[in-house]
Symmetry: C2
Subunit: 302 residues, 2 copies
């Protein structure tokens, strides 16, 4: 099976799980219909589902099956989806379209979008704590609640979004350094990739040193994914990428490419890729899917 086919198949399974959950007995009738509709709009809008894919594939490397990984994968995707709903708001990135569809605030309104994001974030922790998932022990699930909270909150993704908006809205710092942008991206994008790889290893039979290696692999994969995204914005053609390109430059946004130049940025991406590969060199052939995921993140054209 090609990597793209595998990714698409997993995405299908994850979407089926998310759709079931949002339509399920525990939600329907109990969540006000307007809110439930906005939550579905946010979650069922497509996407590569690469974060939950990583949870499931990382777990598989360490012998845990997809059923055990699925609730964790879904929880992570819910956090990612909530973050997009809030990021798109008029007071943040003010985006009216995402993947060709109206964003939640555009399809509904601002207050509904804020509440839908809040409800999705909260639901992520409910899913993670689900007592019906008996494959993972309560102690490990509780650890993952703590890890997901750290990855998503003020020291993680939300902190990264704050630093990003301070630059956009307040012009702070006046001249962002490479270090500043790398910290921002490590928080905003890296923290969830890191969690995905750590969580997969944690529910499998990974040793402590393997868990650490997977954590560092996840961080580097996140950095590669983000830098490739920035390169796409500069190099891609809008038709292939499926969204407006050249957006960062037009917005005067500081990126690594702006600071390093295109050639050096490409070289930096190759360095990050090599460093990520080195982290999981000890895992042998069973980690090949993770290597293909890295390759996909680096080489993708959309």
């Amino acid at each position: 099976m090609t990597f793209e086919k595998r990714l698409a198949e997993r995405a299908g399974g994850i979407e089926a799980g998310l759709a079931d959950m949002l339509a399920g007995k525990s939600q329907s009738g109990l969540v006000p219909e307007r809110l439930a509709g906005a939550m579905r709009h946010a979650v069922m809008a497509g996407g590569k589902r690469i974060r939950p894919f990583l949870v499931i594939e990382s777990a598989a490397v360490f012998g845990a099956d997809a059923d055990a990984a699925m609730p964790i994968a879904m929880a992570l995707e819910l956090v990612h989806c909530y973050s997009l709903v809030h990021d798109d708001l008029p007071s943040m990135d003010n985006d009216a379209l995402r993947r060709g569809q109206p964003t939640v605030w555009k399809a509904y309104d601002e207050w509904t979008a804020i509440l839908a994001g809040d409800a999705l974030l909260t639901l992520a922790f409910e899913v993670l704590a689900d007592p019906q998932n008996t494959v993972v022990s309560p102690a490990v699930k509780l650890e993952l609640v703590g890890e997901l909270a750290k990855a998503s909150g003020g020291r993680g993704m939300v902190g990264g979004q704050c630093i990003d908006l301070e630059a956009d809205k307040l012009g702070k710092p006046a001249e962002p350094s490479i270090r500043h942008i790398e910290r921002l991206q490590a928080l905003k994008t890296g923290a969830l990739f890191r969690f995905a790889c750590l969580a997969g290893a944690r529910i499998g039979d990974a040793t402590l040193s393997e868990q650490h290696a997977m954590t560092r692999f996840g961080e580097k994969l996140g950095a590669a994914f983000q830098l490739a995204d920035d390169l796409l914005d500069v190099e891609g053609e809008a038709a292939t990428v499926g969204k407006a390109t050249g957006k960062d430059a037009a917005a005067g946004k500081a990126t690594l490419i702006g600071l390093l130049g295109l050639e050096a940025a490409r070289a930096r991406l190759a360095e990050i890729e090599a460093a990520a590969l080195a982290e999981i060199a000890g895992l042998g052939a069973r980690a090949d899917v993770l290597r293909e995921t890295l390759r996909f993140a680096v080489a993708r054209r959309r």
Copy 2:
């Protein structure tokens, strides 16, 4: 010790715990300063701290000490504080002042307030899952993660806020019934009171039937608290209440008082109080603080 003194002393302990946590090693330097400042502004703005008080006192009824209850109490207060930050936003209640101070969006801006709320909600689950809290077992902590998520999310507090805003912004339903308003209040206010009483019982030695009784007591206490609040809005004098009164009527907001009339609403409050007392009749003198809390909620003048 009078009840008011006990409430104030507990509030002091809870605020010290929250201040320590927000200033602590795990947060400082790692959370961007703007975000950390907005989070402190939201949490350290005073208030009766009645929800965390209820967690601690419910735990005490069943023999669990304040140290065991404190992380759960703090997590619940973080959820309450985040909900106020988001409720105050221009696209929701558009409130510029809370307890005489600028609301978070007014002191900072909208995007900072949205992110601060997101970070506080996320932090609540991190605090609840804290591995350093070894008094409560991982299995019980995990249960409480699930219960707090249910109480706070689309089937709980956020769902209630959605129903409330549908009435305010969209005029739906055109003629709210008593049943509609009671459902709204059970979700928006009742769910967190319910969680407070259940969580306290759960970490103590409460039997299953005592846990159920405490859950129902919490629901009724929440309903009494909300109805007393509505009565204060109609009957209170602004100087005593410390905020504008008559606000609901001026906003054309449907309340139980509007539907029932003042006399019948007072009688309804007395009924709820009696029903709440009946739920914990079997707990004897050790539950006297809970009875005083109910009396305080019903009789308060601000």
